[in-house]
Symmetry: C2
Subunit: 363 residues, 2 copies
């Protein structure tokens, strides 16, 4: 089966590498023939929001999914009328808008930080009156990896933040003094089968995922996270992989955001689980039986950002597997990652420390 992927970044590349053994072929839409996915599949050259190029991609394939989240939903609805488009556009549209996302969490009883929609300086002040400081002001759309947001710690920050972000539709959110961040990843197939990966614990640096460890074992938290994901699956009549990122505050899960796709915090599943998130995404959207999410030992994943550490040095670390996305280096760009998988959690942690030292020494 030929599958179209909008965006040929590393997620699309890893989807293709996981999908070839299932007999899938991959066609990407991207602006560059040297994009990570384009190196391992067919490419339609064009912008993600070019209706003609989207239609051209649709013509070449039987099923469409995406790597990038920022394609306008109305364009995707047009494509979805021509070919099965999964995960569903309404899930993507919700994830594109922090306000819609928060409203959804509230409607389903999924704990989330207090929030207040902000379209004027007056609304910002009202919001701060309700939520208090510190608080986080975020653009409702197009924010990722920490971009498009600002922490307000004292009243003097209000004016600065407004000047910086006030030209966009915004949302003010309660600042969460979290103990840790975790995420849950699951998949639902077009036939309604669901599977859930164990929680991953995620450590960010400058708003970008730095490293994560999995499985993060807390049975009560795992059950809650799975029940949240199950509700979202039903709500959207979902097919594909879906992620929820959480803050852990006072031992409780507080939902931060969803990603209607394979997720950076699930890259460890390539080596660390019986079936990777990439393979399960392809199985889910093709309506195939889903694969086991059982972890293989203990894993850690470290992102390579801005530059790649030497392959030989990384591969000499016990349990290390290297993933080079085939990108040219650029500051803050995710160029690759390494996954450590070992039988023993202690071995995993010592390999992780060696890897982190290596990454920090190079940056």
């Amino acid at each position: 089966m030929r599958i179209g992927i909008i965006g040929a970044g590393q997620l699309g590349r890893m989807l293709a590498l996981a999908g070839y053994p299932l007999g899938s072929r991959f066609h990407f839409l991207d602006r560059s023939a040297e994009a990570p996915g384009a190196q391992v599949g067919e490419i339609v050259l064009g912008a993600f929001d070019d209706p003609q190029r989207l239609a051209e991609l649709a013509q070449q394939v039987e099923l469409i999914t995406f790597d990038v989240e920022n394609v306008p939903a109305d364009l995707l609805n047009e494509i979805a009328a021509q070919r099965p488009f999964l995960p569903p556009v309404n899930a993507l549209a919700t994830a594109q808008d922090r306000l819609a996302e928060k409203q959804l969490f509230d409607s389903l009883g999924i704990a989330t930080p207090q929030w207040h929609a902000v379209d004027s300086l007056a609304e910002l002040e009202t919001g701060i009156g309700a939520i208090g400081l510190p608080a986080v002001l975020k653009t409702r759309r197009l924010g990722y990896d920490g971009r498009g947001q600002m922490v307000l710690r004292e009243p003097a920050d209000i004016q600065t933040a407004w000047e910086k972000l006030g030209s966009w539709p915004l949302i003010l959110e309660q600042f969460m003094p979290f103990e840790r961040e975790v995420s849950i990843i699951g998949a639902r197939s077009t036939g309604g089968e669901t599977v859930y990966y164990p929680l991953s614990e995620n450590t960010h640096q400058d708003g970008i995922l730095h490293y994560c460890t999995a499985p993060y074992i807390d049975q009560a938290m795992q059950a809650t996270a799975e029940s949240y994901l199950a509700q979202l699956f039903e709500k959207f009549d979902y097919a594909g992989v879906l992620t929820i990122e959480f803050f852990v505050v006072d031992g409780q899960l507080v939902a931060n955001e969803i990603a209607p796709r394979v997720h950076n915090s699930g890259h460890w599943t390539i080596e660390g689980a019986r079936t990777s998130q990439f393979e399960n995404h392809i199985r889910a959207i093709r309506g195939l039986p889903l694969g086991s999410t059982t972890p293989i030992g203990h894993s850690a994943m470290v992102n390579f950002i801005g530059q790649l550490p030497p392959l030989e040095t990384v591969l000499a670390i016990r349990g290390a597997k290297y993933h080079d996305y085939g990108k040219s280096p650029r500051p803050l760009r995710k160029l690759g990652h390494c996954t450590i998988t070992t039988s023993d959690a202690g071995d995993r942690d010592s390999s992780l420390q060696r890897l982190l030292q290596l990454v920090h020494a190079g940056s």
Copy 2:
């Protein structure tokens, strides 16, 4: 690094899929743009023994390896003068000729069936006098998957076999009443590092590998097999993956043949070992540290020959992973395989039985 692969069959395809995460790019030489490897990499269209096309491939890459074994060694020596060519041509040349292979086994003290070179009917008769019946008459070159050979059980078979095979250089081999067949796969890097996978037990049908199970655990046999592989590594100053197929007779290993490449009996390592034979081949020829060969649970691999069983049905079997090579069906053609990996050997065996029933029901 750009790697050229002569032949774009399923072995080349799986090498590419394993090599992309290491930042390798793949260029194949094959007669068809729809060959399994060509679907996931760049293609130079041409015959494997076309010197111009071989030179063109060499121009595009920094390192060359192969998927097919039957390219004349003198052509490969020309290419090897232009670009690093690994595994070394002399190992391939030896594997191409059953006589050279047997002479090598003898010179290294590796147990192998009694043999006799045959270039005339008189030599065939002399050979039978020395070895006895039953015996196996084989072409020295271009035999694979049971082709180009014939079992001689009684004197009347001599004339028939000679009429069928007598126009080729031949070798007569002692018929081995084996208890089982096993194989060892290992890798040696350009830096001299070596790793060994556990033995696989292999079951053939009509001369083609039908299924295998691994690890086959016998410590003494494992040690002997590794020592044989180690001798061959040294002999050839080898780099890449190397396989020896054995008969087990009276509990002892008797070498049947070598394959200077990744091997069908090692496909289980994709899911069933920490590092697959494909990844270790790429690491070995690039001179990178080799990855752990530790098995993950218990595995079985079943070949899909002539037709593919339904994907949905196979994926519903516990622990099953599907590998579709992207080929069109044809009798006796290897179209794909399935690997079962489970924690428990009993679970592996029951899944294997389900899978074998499914494959037999379809054939």
